[in-house]
Symmetry: C2
Subunit: 366 residues, 2 copies
């Protein structure tokens, strides 16, 4: 088992990474100082797979827990579903010593985390991410969120977990597209911060795609370490943290314009990373051969470098401007200069639009 310590304002928390940790949830929570009753939140699919083992582990360690199932999918990140969680928390008698345990992917983590951040003005939160994306992204940073009709993740809170438990065995049941989508974020960490990780992804592609537990342990822990270093002790989004947005400026726009669900998050980020690479070459920031390596790595993991169907470049440009990360004025892109080093720069609209043109599907004649 590997352990990563994440510094947060006023303290730190551990991320434990290993195979079979689900069966140890109870003792790990007790060791982390959890004492009260627990709400275990999971979507129906994940609950079927894993809730019995987790509940048994919690019971064995002497915890009282209530399983709360939510429907799978982004539509659960709603005020209505949030209100349902609050009602269940109250019915279960959760008090200020209680903790919310999020078992699942990003949707459950975001929703249950926000509920934990706000119930009784904040109770303990434990994450047990079961998707690669949640393991390498949501484990660090303390972001929780729900969606409102006006946009995704427009409402939320920063709420650091007390503990994150990553059971690599949960990746065995992850559908292939979701697994590859998570790998897009791992590629991102390689590009922005770690040429060794990037080279590992190139060299051990087959074992990674075969979900070798040893390699998964390596790439998940390295990803969490990088994110923890970048986020540092300053939990609010500012400065250095912006580099985590690599591939996301256009990626978020692709998700929004195509309609949420058309592209998995990692697929959209992969397209965004390819666009950032070509933009970097165009601006003379990135050698063409490095851009080619990035694009080749994306493709080698079965991730898209281009849109599957055309999307209006002007609509993508407008969506980039609407993104809540856009300040008034110019768009900001994270661009690589070499593997492991990026800059954040304002990009004129013509060039941002050109990047949106560059990721259109290749014409059939090619």
């Amino acid at each position: 088992m590997r352990e990563i310590t994440v510094a947060v304002p006023g303290g730190s928390y551990p991320i434990l990474i290993g195979g079979g940790l689900l069966r140890e949830v109870g003792v790990r929570l007790a060791a982390a100082g959890c004492r009260g009753s627990l709400a275990l939140v999971a979507d129906a699919g994940v609950a079927t797979l894993y809730a019995p083992a987790v509940a048994a582990s919690l019971k064995e360690a002497g915890f009282t827990s209530t399983l709360i199932e939510i429907p799978a999918g982004e539509q659960s990140k709603s005020l209505e579903c949030l209100g349902g969680l609050y009602a269940r928390f109250a019915a279960a008698g959760l008090d200020r010593r209680a903790a919310v345990v999020a078992l699942g992917g990003g949707v459950v983590g975001d929703l249950a985390g926000f509920a934990a951040a706000t119930y009784l003005r904040g109770i303990d939160f434990v994450q047990v991410p079961t998707t690669l994306l949640a393991q390498v992204d949501a484990s660090v940073g303390g972001k929780t969120a729900i969606d409102i009709p006006a946009g995704k993740n427009l409402v939320g809170a920063f709420h650091q977990p007390r503990l994150v438990l990553v059971d690599l065995q949960t990746l065995e049941t992850l559908p292939e597209p979701d697994f590859r989508s998570g790998l897009a974020e791992v590629i991102k960490y390689g590009v922005i911060a770690d040429p060794v990780l990037f080279a590992l992804l190139e060299a051990r592609r087959q074992e990674i795609l075969a979900r070798s537990e040893g390699l998964l342990a390596e790439i998940v822990s390295r990803s969490c370490e990088i994110k923890a270093e970048v986020v540092g002790a300053d939990e609010r989004e500012a400065g250095l943290r912006e580099i985590l947005n690599y591939g996301h400026t256009l990626g978020h726009a692709v998700e929004a314009v195509a309609g949420y669900g058309r592209y998995l998050h990692g697929e959209a980020v992969a397209i965004g990373m390819a666009a950032a690479a070509s933009l970097g070459v165009r601006l003379g920031l990135l050698p063409a051969e490095t851009a080619a390596r990035i694009e080749a790595l994306i493709a080698s993991f079965g991730l898209p470098e281009r849109l599957r169907e055309p999307l209006d470049p002007d609509a993508l440009l407008a969506a980039m401007h609407r993104d809540k990360k856009a300040r008034a004025g110019s768009l900001r892109f994270v661009l690589a200069r070499t593997l492991g080093a990026v800059i954040v720069t304002e990009v004129p609209d013509e060039l941002a639009r050109a990047a949106a043109v560059a990721v259109q599907p290749r014409p059939p004649t090619e």
Copy 2:
């Protein structure tokens, strides 16, 4: 104008107290560093009285502001109303530099404050409290909250304001029962921390009830100072902060059992303070003459020392146990030992029930 600096984790904010400050909201916000667009939240009644002056001041200082009216009353502290605020924030294009200005009493401050705490994971919040209760209580502590069907204030966040502006002239239009309800909290500060304030309330009762601006400035600023000292730089509820709960253990139970709205918050707190005084005497903690002074001061401001109609003591006891501040086991009461000094102590159920019996209406024969 008086200025009180409230220390909060990572910084501080000012409370400005004076007459006519509503007409200076714009320049004061600019001086406090607000730069973005603003959402001005008020209930319909307050908006009619004051929104034009505030909006004019904001416009004059170059701010873009959107007035958002909510229905008056506790029922606005709901998830539904919160969702309505989020939608209005998005429609008004609020970004991360924006601020929410709460103009009104506790309901508006709690609701708009929670919306500010969670929109885009937290944007600036400015309080312009227009009731005495909000001025002396909600100005300090950073608590925001909404209600859910399972209970009042069960959902919320700690979110410190950037600035609090107390315009004492807004108290001129405050209905008499609300004004007296606010005075109950001022009496509380005298009992728990400041015999000089207590003596001032005794000596200058008539001028205070006549709402003399000079005396209001004194009691509001002293109340805010005391609360700021008690809350200190530790914003989470713990330790010393519990003394602010003086009169609230039974007070909250009275509000809940009588049905919210039957007693104003300050009326319930007044009854709770009288009960705490008699309990203190019974336990040999408080001299009977001091208890008599506390009860006399409560009565002299037209506040109740006893229930207007009988309430089942067992129901009150059960409600005290249900209060979210109750830990497992014994009830905790804040009890005065003398004016300006209190202790927090566990109280056995028989004595807590006896306190609930002691505040029943006097039989008609008396």
